[in-house]
């Protein structure tokens, strides 16, 4: 019996350890290190309806023990994904979860429709991007907009829909409730925190785009707190992420209420991090005499 068997409603994973969108490409770039079929799932790099060149460099910088990135969703577009990336990725032997971003609510619907093909296990909906029809306010910061996107995606696919919450809000529980009421099957959280770093010699922001998304170990306490709050509010399962570097971090997220976790920035530091966590969870389950890791989901709430 696989004690790490993970079911997130309709989405079944062989274990609860996935890799976070934007930090693992489509998996291809990590194939030399290990057999990707060991992973619970791969959240593929953010995909948009049309190809995007992305932001001007410098796009990334390390600061205060974490990383700021402003890639600007550089990608070849959804057709390129379907024609050139998915045919290879679908044979990796792990759940391929496609991360989608749109400029408008309609974009999300069209992408959901196009991506509802064999080989795609679920859609992860990035709502941390600006809604161009609403003055560029991020979808994920207004409950009604987030709910609308969830409903739009749900109406255009039969795949499990994972809504990925942005932490750049005052009330995260309200956002969780909004996407749940919109029809989301699963919540993933958190996306990056908006941050900045300055080159004091040149008196200029280091990131060309001025601001970027902050990730890595420093955001872990914030992410953990948010998972804790959303778990209290929603009934749907949560995939927790934000600064997970090792097994202990992953267990903290599970105890706060996550049914699965995602490893992001840590892949840059040590590509074996997800495997180490799978091994660590197996060991933890054995040592604590658990019949399944599920016994500790939300443990701190009891």
């Amino acid at each position: 019996m696989n004690k790490l068997h993970c079911d997130l409603g309709k989405l079944i994973l062989k274990n609860p350890v996935t890799v976070a969108s934007g930090t693992f490409g489509s998996g291809k770039e990590f194939k030399d290190f290990y057999d990707l079929s060991q992973l619970g799932g791969i959240m593929v790099k953010g995909t948009t309806l049309l190809p995007r060149r992305g932001n001007q460099p410098q796009r990334l910088v390390e600061t205060a023990g974490g990383v700021i990135n402003s890639i600007g969703l550089a990608n070849g577009g959804v057709d390129d994904f379907l024609n050139n990336i998915l045919p290879e990725a679908k044979d990796y032997g792990t759940a391929i979860i496609v991360n989608i971003s749109g400029d408008t609510t309609d974009d999300y619907g069209r992408m959901a429709e196009k991506l509802s093909v064999p080989g795609v296990a679920a859609l992860e909906v990035n709502i941390s991007c600006p809604n161009v029809k609403h003055g560029g306010i991020a979808f994920g910061t207004v409950p009604d907009m987030a709910r609308e996107v969830a409903t739009m995606v749900k109406n255009n696919t039969d795949l499990p829909v994972i809504m990925k919450l942005s932490p750049n809000v005052t009330n995260i529980a309200e956002m969780g409730a909004a996407v749940e009421s919109g029809g989301a099957d699963i919540i993933s959280m958190i996306n990056t925190l908006i941050g900045m770093a300055i080159d004091i010699k040149n008196r200029k922001p280091i990131i060309k785009h001025i601001m970027g998304g902050y990730s890595g170990p420093p955001i872990k306490p914030v992410a953990l707190r948010m998972v804790y709050q959303v778990y209290k509010t929603v009934k749907i399962p949560i995939i927790g992420m934000g600064g997970i570097m090792n097994t202990e971090d992953a267990i903290e997220f599970i105890m706060a209420g996550a049914s699965a976790v995602s490893v992001g920035t840590a892949n840059f530091v040590d590509p074996y991090t997800p495997l180490n966590i799978i091994q660590g969870l197996n060991k933890y389950v054995e040592e604590n005499g658990l019949s399944s890791y599920k016994e500790i989901i939300g443990a701190v709430h009891r």
């Binding site: 770039e29 030399d32 890595g216 840059f268 074996y272």
Partner: protein, 255 residues
């Protein structure tokens, strides 16, 4: 194939105290496959969090050794300079594409500015073994901050320029290149500061120009798309995976 190896440091010696170091590490797998112009990503300590990209300076395939020539700039390279013989270090590589080395009996200039000279040594050795005729042109800021020249002299003729004229020709490496009879040169391979690479672009029609670029890196594996440079056609290429070596004509240096 890309490997993550924990290699034993055999030697880590200062060529210029607190500034320029040469480290030699036992890295059996990486040494086996490393090509000139490729680089490695080094975990230098708990912090900085990210690995640091450093070019491959030399490879001893028989003994499985990789050498790196590096300059202490900030925390990561400072950490690297602290490794002692016998200690172990966590390295991923070999990464990137490397220079074109299937050339025979050609006249090739290898131009390096500052720490950008690092990838040219192994490159020079490989090109020489194929019967090419080489010349190194190395640029430094001043005599006191010149290093590793003797390594290059063992491979081929070396010409030096310094910004203050304290060694060799005064000015940047272009001062030397412009005095040469370029009509005989078939290829120029270069690594160094952007102004130097930009200058060399003027030879892109006459010779096979290959430039090794730098960019701030996240993953070093081609996954995060952070390390991009702009190509002539307006698209972006990943320095870590599509590079670090690009044809001169491919790169625009607009951004």
């Amino acid at each position: 194939m890309i490997y993550k190896e924990i290699g034993k440091v055999l030697e880590n010696k200062a060529l210029i105290k607190d500034s320029i170091y040469l480290i030699t590490i036992d890295l059996q797998n990486i040494a086996k496959e490393a090509l000139p112009g490729q680089f490695v990503e080094i975990k230098t300590g708990d912090l900085p969090l990210l690995r640091k990209p450093i070019s491959i300076f030399d490879v001893d395939k028989n003994n499985g050794l990789v050498s790196l020539l590096y300059q202490v700039r900030g925390k990561g390279t400072k950490n690297l300079s602290g490794f002692k013989s016998g200690e172990y270090i966590d390295i991923i590589g070999p990464l990137g594409n490397g220079f074109t080395i299937d050339k025979k009996e050609q006249e090739i200039l290898l131009v390096g500015g500052g720490i950008g000279i690092a990838p040219l040594y192994y490159l020079g050795k490989e090109l020489k073994s194929k019967g090419n005729s080489l010349k190194f042109i190395l640029g430094y800021s001043c005599k006191d901050e010149s290093y590793a020249v003797d390594f290059f002299r063992q491979v081929a003729e070396v010409e030096i320029s310094t910004m203050d004229g304290s060694l060799g020709c005064k000015g940047h490496v272009g001062r030397i290149v412009e005095k040469l009879d370029i009509s005989k040169v078939t290829a120029i391979y270069a690594c160094g500061p952007e102004p130097m690479l930009k200058y060399l672009k003027k030879f892109e029609q006459e010779v096979d120009l290959e430039l090794s670029l730098e960019a701030y890196m996240g993953c070093g594996l081609g996954a995060c798309i952070s390390c991009v440079c702009e190509k002539t056609d307006g698209s972006y290429a990943r320095v870590c995976k599509d590079g670090p070596v690009f044809k001169g004509k491919e790169i625009s240096f607009n951004e």
